[in-house]
Symmetry: C2
Subunit: 207 residues, 2 copies
């Protein structure tokens, strides 16, 4: 399959959320135009995005909500549950560990790690904060697919490397540091400073 643009994937995810919303109101069928409205884009863009993966609609009618939902879930790899570990049990790690959005969307948090002796052993719901020293040892049992990185900037690169060594193949990075990882490891950065500063720019140069 030809390379799929990052932006296309992000939009597919938005369409999926929109479809759940549409399904909840009992609608059975949806047009690219409606999907575009809910996803914040244009109908041509919706059709183009979907066309990368095949042709799922009926001309004159639109898309079957149930079928398109199933197709998108399959494309995005959501037909299974993913195993996630959180590295860093500070404020951000704690908020993420409790966030119901993870399990709701198929991402199960199976472990939380920290280096701080004061935090190791703490009970978080049905999780217990583990010693980061056991990361590699645990790896076989836990088989984490994804690591969420929420540690101090100075430790980020080192922890990313250890996570990769422990078998993780994707990293959701909350630390404002550019990680360097093998090409077969996927990284997504969530950087609050970037978002805030983009708003600051917008306010300064328009508002």
């Amino acid at each position: 399959m030809k390379r799929v643009a990052e932006s296309t994937i992000r939009r597919l995810s938005l369409y999926l959320t929109a479809l759940e919303e549409i399904d909840a109101r009992g609608t059975r069928t949806v047009s690219s135009e409606e999907l575009a409205q809910l996803g914040g884009t244009t109908s041509a863009q919706v059709r183009k995005d979907l066309s990368v993966f095949g042709s799922f609609g009926k001309r004159g009618l639109g898309y079957s909500v149930a079928e398109l939902t199933a197709r998108l879930r399959s494309i995005l790899g959501l037909g299974r549950r993913w195993r996630v570990c959180i590295i860093g049990a500070g404020k951000v790690g704690a908020a993420l560990a409790q966030y119901p959005g993870f399990p709701e969307r198929g991402f199960d948090i199976v472990a939380v790690y920290d280096a701080d002796a004061a935090r190791i052993g703490e009970r978080w719901g049905d999780l217990r904060v583990r010693d980061i020293a056991t990361l590699e040892t645990d790896a076989r049992d836990l088989a984490c697919d994804i690591a969420v990185l929420a540690v101090p900037a100075s430790a980020a690169q080192r922890m990313a490397e250890r996570a990769v060594a422990a078998g993780v193949r994707a990293i959701l990075n909350f630390v404002p540091v550019q990680l360097s990882v093998p090409r077969n490891v996927a990284v997504r950065n969530v950087n609050m400073a970037v978002e805030l500063e983009a708003l600051s720019f917008a306010l300064t140069n328009r508002g």
Copy 2:
């Protein structure tokens, strides 16, 4: 000034973070190549991004760390502090309210609102959770520039409209809903589902 690409702004923010790092190690001068490495891009991209706003470097030498920092801060509108209110005092709102990254980067949280009587009045550090009913009344005194939206999906559009009515000109939206706001209001979406699903896609189609 000609329209500046969103992606350029996001990179400028990354360069700024990189510059702070460089400054902390006592380096006085930096080349586009070094900045590119720390920002996860190429030297040509760095130079192109900066050239949109002028020419700040010295050929043969690079950029003065101090001067480029000052220029970027000025471009991004960080020469002042911004007033932020959080709408929605749930888990996400709570985590954001405590996040030291906000004040560190010039964004002061001046109010937190909720609709739930059980939460109204709670003390959060030196903040008190306010009744959302007072949002518009408070507006004059508080003069919030930015609203952080962290409410249930069903309330998001309504709360965004009320925030705008209360004078907010930018919204950082954590709710997975496409907000519809006047064109002069800036919106940035942070959507965890999109990030997770992008990783899921990457794991499914490469890994």
